[in-house]
């Protein structure tokens, strides 16, 4: 796992009563907690309970995390523990056999991939947010689902169709040079999602 100095800064600020820093932490890592809950196939009500517990525990731990840079790992471990607790409780009330025991076993490698993906995604979103407005608008349209056509992009952003390609290349090059992405290395390359 990379040592992300921005995570350390956010944790330090949040520990010192900075709600904006806390919101940024949530913004970055809610997808990690969420994705682990969905790996465990929890119902929304259980996900809500797990989320509340994880965030409450994090609030309490803010000033005590020994390695703030390891926050994603801490969140993943805590979320897993709370998911298992929720599954145990669900099993208690369900008819015997309606819950598959296999659900309780989520492979450690899967969780590790979720952590790496969460860090990569957070870095990419931050780097994207640091680009000039025109680049952000263009890239947002290019990655939208469904993707916008060049005709739509041309009409919305009022740029000739012929210059979309070159602008796209320039914006991606700026993104590639962003210092926010410095820590993304070989691990992230290997774990690039196949279904991109």
């Amino acid at each position: 796992m990379r040592d992300d100095p921005s995570v350390i800064a956010l944790v330090t600020r949040a520990a010192n009563s900075d709600q904006d820093a806390w919101n940024e932490i949530i913004e970055r890592y809610a997808p990690l907690v969420w994705s682990i809950c969905t790996r465990y196939q929890l119902k929304n009500q259980d996900i809500e309970d797990v989320g509340q517990t994880v965030w409450l525990l994090l609030v309490e731990q803010l000033g005590k995390l020994r390695e703030p840079a390891a926050l994603p790992g801490w969140l993943a471990t805590t979320t897993q523990r709370e998911c298992l607790r929720a599954l145990t409780a669900a099993r208690r009330t369900a008819d015997a056999g309606t819950l598959d025991d296999a659900l309780a076993v989520v492979d450690a490698a899967v969780i590790e991939q979720e952590i790496l993906a969460a860090e990569r995604n957070a870095a990419l979103r931050t780097a994207l947010g640091e680009l000039p407005l025109r680049c952000r608008q263009l890239l947002a349209m290019l990655i939208s689902d469904p993707p916008s056509s060049y005709t739509e992009i041309s009409a919305t952003l009022r740029i000739p169709i012929g210059s979309i390609g070159p602008q796209r290349a320039r914006c991606l090059e700026r993104l590639r040079r962003s210092s926010t992405l410095d820590g993304l290395g070989a691990d992230e390359l290997r774990n690039e999602p196949s279904g991109r």
Binding site: N23, P31, E48, D49, T88, R91, A118, R120, L172
Partner: protein, 156 residues
């Protein structure tokens, strides 16, 4: 930085980052932001350390059905923090609890919909709360000598 990612790969990664963010419903993120309200509150977290229903899972195999149903009517839970623990017995319509070590104070039951019920803790540390919320809730315990503890969210 992934300098050797070509444009398509970088766009694909951006698309994935955006999708992962949009998969998370707003209520989940908002609940996370609201949790910060607890930051300046000097309440320690009391974690669930014992749950009788876990015993039940283990013992159910060897116990008779009647014994199980009898035991199931009393659901016992213990929450532990560094300075005190909260022992709870949950029945269908009430919570009976005791804090250890015993001391006077106030117990507050906070439901996830924001509704709270407050009850006194007597001088042997006992309290009684009615009714029991259907959804998840937590207990906050404040003693007269200044201990402030909040439990995990839980559902009974």
């Amino acid at each position: 930085m992934p300098e050797d990612w070509d444009d398509e790969r970088l766009l694909g990664a951006l698309r994935e980052a955006s999708r992962a963010r949009h998969d998370v419903p707003p209520w989940f993120t908002q609940a996370g932001q609201s949790a910060y309200a607890w930051h300046d509150i000097d309440a320690q977290l009391a974690q669930l350390s014992y749950d009788s229903s876990h015993d039940l899972d283990l013992e159910g195999v060897v116990r008779s059905a009647s014994t199980r149903s009898e035991r199931a009517t009393i659901h016992a839970l213990t929450f532990t923090s560094a300075r005190l623990s909260i022992e709870l017995e949950v029945s269908t319509d009430s919570l009976i609890g005791q804090i250890i070590p015993p001391r006077r104070g106030t117990i507050e039951q906070q439901a996830s919909d924001g509704e709270t019920i407050t009850a006194p803790i007597d001088d042997i540390g006992c309290f009684y709360i009615q009714p029991v919320p259907a959804g998840s809730f937590r207990l906050r315990c404040r003693t007269e000598d200044g201990i402030d503890v909040v439990t995990n969210w839980f559902t009974v």
